[in-house]
Amino acid sequence: MHPSSAERVPDARHSPWIENRPSRKWIPRLDLLELWASREITLVLALRNVKTRYKQTLLGVAWTILQPLTAVAIFSLVFGRLALVPSEGVPYPVFVFTGLAVWLYFASASNLASESLAQHRELVTKIYFPRLHAPIASVLPGLIDLSISLLAVGVFMVIYDVAPTPAIVLLPVWILAAPVVALAVGVWLAALNVQYRDVRNALTFLLQVWFFATPVVYGSSLLEGRWSFLLALNPMAGLIEGFRWSLIGAPPPGMWALGSFAMGAVVLVSGLTYFGLVQRRFADLV
């Protein structure tokens, strides 16, 4: 019955001192080495999100596919049939499904990330771990849904007779880029949400506006020209058009995509910096 930990007598004398001192006001503290060393925390938190999601649900994984399918049906009817929105020469349902799969992943991952600290008070106030694990763990589980959706897009491609092009070799790049973009936004939201309760309301609104400003239900060609700057400022625009190019053979994104990728990097770096500046106060605030 006795815990077997007695077998190892700790020899702390050779361990380094760990210090806790006030951090300087304008220097972000991130400690990426420690983050890497404790990477298992990201995994268990992500697993917890995955496991709790499907426990005690009747349809389980079916929900993953039901939501985008319903949206695809509605948008195909409204924009594809009635409004005749351009879809870059690809059948509209295949076109919108690709966009929606990526967008829904982004929306749910950034939502989960925004709540990752504010909703887990006990994790923040009762134990120490590098706080960045929480938003990182939030953007991983959605990748399962995204993969399932992309497989379903493949089925649609067979049905609508859409053949992939050689650009498909770049698909893994976009799949890796998706969680990075979600994390860039998620890190900002997670840090802000600890401090400001209205982030939750703002996020719903923000995602709604963002959805229509992003080429999800329409093609980027609709905005090219005068409105190209909107695409260049939007990290999601490059990501979605990248997916469409690689997966369903839509035309490659224009030069504006470089701006879009740069913007993603700016949001990520600024988000991490902001997180590093304010995380020391999380436990006092939550």
Binding site: S4, S5, A12, P22, S38, E122, K126, A202
Partner: protein
């Protein structure tokens, strides 16, 4: 022989801006940063939870930290565990720090016992391999083998606690900081907690133990630090620290009222010694029954709310411990308002000094509230001084009979 230090605290202070614990809206912050007016930064009221605290702890030492609510005990632990930063000063710890500020942090009710062991172990800082290595021990120590694959929301509160503590007990930290774990769980659980803490120290680990339970502190700690209003009021042998703490409370009163704290869901507002009929007593006598009365303000409903009353002698011996739930069957604390409890203690204790503890608790919650007050139980009116001075714990009404030798 001087042993190596494993905790050093150098002139640590911690400031909280009052109102910071409350969420603010973005609009308020934007407005105040634009106008730079009274609402912003400096003029907000401040609270110094710690003021220039310094102490060092040796390897293998068990240090008890005592003091009343709000004295800064929990803040000190949180800084040592790096959950929050000090405002000034620095703390240094050597080796792995295992902080047990709450039992079962990170447990998820929908997940099974097995899944939660890995989840909880990881957030406490254990590697997957370590958890696997200790898995069987953890499960055996908790005694939940049969329920490993049951979601823990179906566990009884006792099983939940045993599992949570068992995970924490198998951490292999060099420095352990523990806050009020004894505020939850049954007597058996508390006994195991204390036993494990003593083991920790025997294995050469350093333990810093915060508790309201002075009896437990006296039993397992060598050294005591009394924190008062954020400063170290005394640092020395544990008995001495408890004596001084109790003396300084100046509440050798049979009735005390406590300041309201809106952050607490349930709070003690007053407590005292009274006659069984309810009138507060200045000088309870050992030969008459007395009642412990407590008034609680319930702000929000807490599941499983319970009141514990205990009496400890000045030497740390626990002579009485009763829970409301032990015998009370009726309704208690289920809607907001001021509730009152009273428990009558029959005349069995010896005259002398006692510490009365009243704890508000729930098996499902972290620490809710606990207060102690000291009082003197007076001798019976005609007792001789020599009889009063005897060192004994109970003095129930006894009856002597004498049978003289029969003359024959």
């Amino acid at each position: 022989m001087s042993r190596a230090h494993s905790i050093e605290v150098h002139a640590v202070s911690k400031r909280f801006r009052l109102g910071e614990r409350r969420y603010v809206t973005l609009r308020e912050t934007l407005a105040s940063s634009i106008r730079r007016d009274r609402v912003s930064g400096k003029s907000r009221p401040e609270l110094w939870a710690l003021r220039g605290v310094s102490l060092t702890v040796h390897e293998g030492e068990i240090l008890g930290v005592i003091g009343r609510n709000g004295a800064g005990k929990s803040t000190l632990l949180k800084i040592l565990a790096r959950i929050t930063e000090p405002t000034h000063g620095v703390t240094r710890t050597r080796g792995r720090v295992g902080a047990l500020l709450e039992v079962g942090t990170g447990f998820h009710p929908e997940l099974t016992g097995r899944e939660n062991v890995f989840l909880n172990g990881a957030v406490l800082g254990m590697k997957r391999r370590e958890i696997q290595r200790h898995f069987d021990d953890i499960v055996a120590f908790a005694g939940i083998e049969r329920f490993l694959d049951t979601p823990i929301k179906r566990y009884s509160s006792g099983m939940y606690l045993r599992l949570a503590f068992s995970v924490a007990a198998h951490l292999e930290p060099d420095v352990v900081v523990i806050d009020e774990v004894l505020a939850v769980g049954d007597a058996e659980f508390q006994r195991r907690c204390l036993g494990r803490m003593s083991d920790f120290a025997r294995e050469g680990r350093t333990v810093l133990f915060v508790s309201h339970d002075l009896g437990a502190v006296a039993r397992i700690c060598d050294r005591g630090v009394w924190l008062d209003e954020g400063t170290v009021a005394y640092d020395g042998p544990v008995r001495e620290s408890i004596e001084r703490y109790l003396d300084a409370r100046g509440e050798r009163a049979s009735y005390v009222e406590y300041a309201p704290d809106p952050d607490r869901p349930v709070q003690l507002v007053a407590a005292g010694i009274a006659t069984p009929a309810g009138a507060f007593l200045d000088a309870p006598r050992r030969d008459e029954p007395f009642a412990v009365r407590a008034r609680l303000l319930v702000r929000e409903r807490v599941t499983g709310l319970d009141v514990k009353v205990y009496l400890v002698t000045r030497t740390g011996l626990r002579v009485l411990e009763e829970n409301l739930s032990d015998s009370h069957e009726g309704r208690f604390g289920e809607h907001p308002g001021e509730w009152e409890t009273s428990v009558v203690v029959p005349p069995i204790l010896a005259a002398g000094d006692y510490v009365l503890g009243i704890a508000v608790r729930s098996p499902y919650e972290r620490f809710l509230d606990e207060e102690i007050l000291t009082f003197q139980l007076w001798p019976a009116p005609h007792e001789r001084q020599e009889a009063i001075d005897r060192n004994r714990i109970v003095q129930p009404p006894v009856e002597w009979r004498v049978t003289p030798p029969s003359r024959s």
